[in-house]
């Protein structure tokens, strides 16, 4: 299995008069982990939402596995069921126990039998190490556990790609590790991932490529080695230096 899973071309998006994204193009290959970094308000989260059309781009096109998903004729709900998304503040369904959070997409979107869905959901919970929490409610879990459940929820749908929107930014420093470990394992297992993150350690050790964004455009893109030690743009170096100082390199 090879090839390009995701291709974005010339994505534009503005809110009110403010243009947040100003022509973003990139590709993600199968099995690749791509990390998007950049200052706050640069449009990183907006970019992720433009990809799965939670906020459709004003201009530009997106392809998933060669199919254009910005085409109005495409059933976007079906497309979204094959793109996982992990949010900064988890967004687990508050009224459902952990098992149902992972299972509901299988039964209500994919129309799977309850028993089959349960087995699959339990498998995914096992994968993130939370099988024993299946009957707990989200509010009874720590932030790190909630985020792992939300990863299991995304995984259960058997996605072609998972989008991570600052998955560790809302977590206590102590809980970041457990989430990053799950993500590192996913990367090793060959999951295709597009990650917005400030975790430089993760970016450096796991990412195949890093995209540095600022003011709604991609400033520089390349393997971590190149961006960290030999950036083409002065601004890339400055940002990486500052962020590394702030967040350290714990996962190196």
């Amino acid at each position: 299995m090879s090839g390009i899973v995701l291709k974005a071309e010339n994505i534009h998006k503005s809110y009110g008069g403010l243009s947040v994204l100003r022509g973003i193009s990139f590709e993600v290959k199968r099995g690749e982990t791509k990390v998007i970094i950049g200052p706050s308000g640069t449009g990183k989260s907006t970019l992720l939402r433009c990809i799965n059309q939670l906020s459709p781009p004003d201009k530009g096109r997106v392809w998933l596995d060669g199919v254009e998903i910005t085409d109005p004729k495409v059933d976007i709900n079906k497309v979204r069921s094959s793109i996982g998304m992990v949010f900064q503040d988890f967004n687990l369904f508050a009224h459902l126990p952990v098992l149902d959070n992972v299972r509901i997409g299988l039964t209500k979107v994919k129309g799977m039998e309850k028993k089959e869905a349960t087995d699959l959901a339990m498998e995914e919970l096992q994968r993130v190490g939370l099988r024993d929490k299946a009957s707990s409610y989200p509010a009874e879990l720590s932030g790190g556990q909630q985020q792992r459940v939300s990863i299991a929820r995304a995984l259960a749908m058997n996605p072609k790609l998972i989008l991570f929107d600052e998955p560790t930014s809302a977590l206590d420093p102590e809980l970041i590790g457990e989430v990053l470990n799950v993500m590192i394992n996913l990367a090793k297992e060959g999951m295709t991932m597009l990650v917005v993150s400030h975790e430089m350690g993760f970016a450096r050790s796991v990412a195949n490529e890093i995209i540095f964004m600022e003011h709604g455009v991609i400033v520089e893109e390349g393997p971590p080695q190149q961006l960290f030690s030999n950036p083409k743009h002065k601004r890339t170096g400055e940002f990486l230096h500052k962020i590394t100082e702030l967040y350290g390199e714990s996962e190196k």
């Binding site: 709900n77 069921s81 793109i83 967004n91 989200p138």
Partner: protein
């Protein structure tokens, strides 16, 4: 209490209970109509087409919240005849106060829906649910839970409003009481007091039941009426 008064209460009990039954029927009618219309109105207002929301839902809610219940009742009862179809007093009451309740209930549900974070809808859409499925499986179950406490008010409100149906001739509790007062002499206070006690029991037991529902369906770790911990009690 003189024995003849006790006998009077004893003797009027069957007719008061008959009236109570009508009061309960009215209340059930108001609440059902209010619920059946109120929920779609609320979702229409939050998620629906902007044009429909501005041109239909919003005026409906504004009008029915701004006109006194008694006036609505008269408009429906006397108005229906001049439009060529005659509503019974009971039906007119159900429609007038039911529509009014739907306006109030829509605002209860709207508040509940809007207090649910946008992230819930986003997460539901992100796993491929349509808007309708997301509302059905994710938003509605949470909104209904959050609506129980304010809905308890609505229940108590319309139950008491049912006494207004007296004015168009529905033989509910108040009218039954009125008949007894008219038949006998000098018992107005006593009879109306008994009516008051019956209303109190209806509201109280209904609220108890709703409190039980709230407790039963609460989301663990997410309770709305969580009691403060000991150390916070003085705040």
């Amino acid at each position: 209490m003189p024995i003849d008064k006790l006998i009077l209460i004893w003797q009027s009990f069957p007719s008061l209970l008959k009236g109570t039954l009508v009061t309960i029927e009215l209340t059930a009618g108001f609440l059902s109509l209010g619920l059946i219309l109120g929920i779609p109105l609320a979702f229409g207002e939050v998620y629906g087409n902007k044009f429909v929301s501005a041109m239909i839902i919003s005026p409906f809610v504004k009008i029915f919240r701004a006109i006194p219940a008694l006036v609505l009742l008269f408009l429906f009862f006397f108005g229906s005849a001049s439009f060529g179809f005659e509503l019974s007093a009971f039906t007119a009451a159900i429609l007038a106060i039911g529509f009014r309740s739907s306006a109030y209930q829509s605002q209860i549900f709207r508040g509940a829906i809007q207090s649910i974070g946008v992230g819930q809808m986003m997460a539901a859409r992100s796993i491929g649910m349509s808007k309708l499925k997301a509302v059905q499986h994710i938003i509605l179950p949470q909104a209904l839970r959050l609506s129980i406490p304010p809905w308890t008010n609505e229940y108590a409100g319309v139950l008491k409003d049912s006494s207004l149906a007296y004015a168009v001739g529905v033989t509910e509790l108040m009218r039954q009481g009125r008949y007894i007062v008219a038949r006998t002499f000098g018992n107005a206070l006593l009879v109306y007091f008994v009516c008051a006690v019956i209303y109190f029991i209806l509201v109280y037991s209904g609220n108890k039941f709703l409190g039980f529902l709230e407790e039963k369906y609460k989301i663990p770790g997410y309770e709305i009426k969580k009691r403060p911990r000991k150390s916070l009690e003085r705040i």
